[in-house]
Amino acid sequence: MPDLGLEVLLKGQNMERLLIGLLAALKISLVSVAVSLPLGILLGTLMTWKNPFIKAVLRVYLEIIRIMPQMVLLFLVFFGTTRAFGWDLSGESASVIVFSLWGTAEMSDLVRGALISIPLHQYESGEALGLSKVQIYRYIVVPQTLRRLIPLSINLITRMIKTTSLVLMIGVVEILKVAQQIIEANRTASPNAAFGIYLVVFLLYFFACWPISVAARYLEKRWR
């Protein structure tokens, strides 16, 4: 039975290198998540304000980011801005910029959706009870919004982790790149290693995202 990649993975530090590659991808997504969540909350709240100018600007930002594939955004930032502004941008920084811009846009839409789903009578009842504006937000609006928002934002995190696999295409060394290197290095000894190694990459991504998805679903059910 020819080796389908398992032996190659157990050889030397190959498995370890693969995991380090996964961490490199996860790091980019987590930094972007850390930027996107607060910014998205801020912009999403601004979107519910009545100022038509702010509304229009944010709407345009959201639509532009949303209509373009993330790959195109990566290319625009990685190749386009470096040319236009003449700065030197590493693949990692370009990825963080793109995923933060995208994540912020998606997050702001989730926040806006959660905020406007709170019926008007909730505000009015608060006022009728004599609560101040701060109290209405603190005790009525924010808790209800969070219940709707948290499962959705956890889902966004898994989407961002999955999207990070694209950074391979602008030359960032992450798990897929490491996998390619390992397969390439063992080409003569185990020509069929690609099967097992890509299967392992697939499973590693699955086990990185799956627990997060399960948590999101659990919270969604519990807080309905």
Binding site: L4, I67, M68, P69, Q70, M71, V72, F75, L76, F79, G80, R83, A84, T158, K162, T163, T164, S165, L166, L168, M169, L176, A179, I183, P191, N192, A193, A194, F195, G196, I197, Y198, L199, V201, F202, Y205, F206, C209, W210, S213
Partner: protein
């Protein structure tokens, strides 16, 4: 920006765009078929199959398309399953999209309240009539927003096809950047062509959503 360069390479982009549209369309259609099947299996709780469907949905939703494609295109041939890049792209998109569509359809079906079925039965409708005239129309209109979002998502996901050496829009842009270093023109054409593909779908989708928003019974 050089207009000469743009007109010279326009046909190349046009060809690439057709490839994206063709594989994207086929992938979306296959996703709908798989999605309908999986949603029906889960709705009727068919033993064994519904367990398998659940595993498929979890695997497909929690892994990136790029990794799925790498496995399909570079991994599978090693155990003798050889496919060409176009088939692989369609299969990958269908594998990813099937689960997203299944979730959209299933949540639509489940959102129709039980009282609807009971009322239909008390009116003397049989199972087929209940499904055809009561459940499906409501489930359909509930799933439309998720369905539209999925179609756009899948079309956008086609942008990773260049990784399995399909000459799509991304591939063309990357190629031209590498060959001639014409950044601005290549990227400009790339954005324009993606807009040409995605804007009409997005506008049509929004129109469809407005059109079916009438059903809100029992909600």
């Amino acid at each position: 920006m050089s207009l000469e360069f743009i007109t010279k390479y326009l046909p190349l982009y046009e060809k690439a765009a057709w490839l994206t549209v063709r594989i994207g369309f086929a992938g979306v259609v296959l996703s709908i078929v798989i999605g309908l099947l999986c949603a029906a299996i889960q709705y009727y709780r068919i033993p064994v199959l519904s367990g398998l469907t659940a595993v498929y949905i979890e695997l497909s939703r929690n892994t990136p398309l790029l990794v799925q494609l790498f496995f399909l295109y570079y991994g599978l041939p090693k155990i003798g399953v050889r496919t060409d890049a176009q088939v692989c792209g369609m299969a990958g998109l269908a594998f990813l999209g099937g689960s997203y569509m299944a979730e959209a359809f299933r949540s639509g079906l489940e959102a129709v309240e039980k009282i609807q079925m009971e009322s239909a039965q008390s009116l003397g409708m049989n199972r087929y009539q209940t499904m055809r005239y009561v459940i499906l129309p409501q489930a359909f209109s509930i799933s439309v927003p998720a369905f539209v979002a999925n179609v756009i998502f899948l079309l956008k996901e086609t942008s990773v096809f260049s990784a399995i050496s399909l000459m799509d829009l991304m591939f063309t842009a990357k190629d031209l950047i590498g060959l001639y270093y014409k950044m601005t023109e290549s990227l400009f054409l790339l954005v324009v062509f993606y807009l040409i593909i995605l804007l009409p779908v997005s506008i049509l989708g929004a129109a469809l959503e407005r059109r079916v928003r009438y059903a809100g019974f029992g909600a």
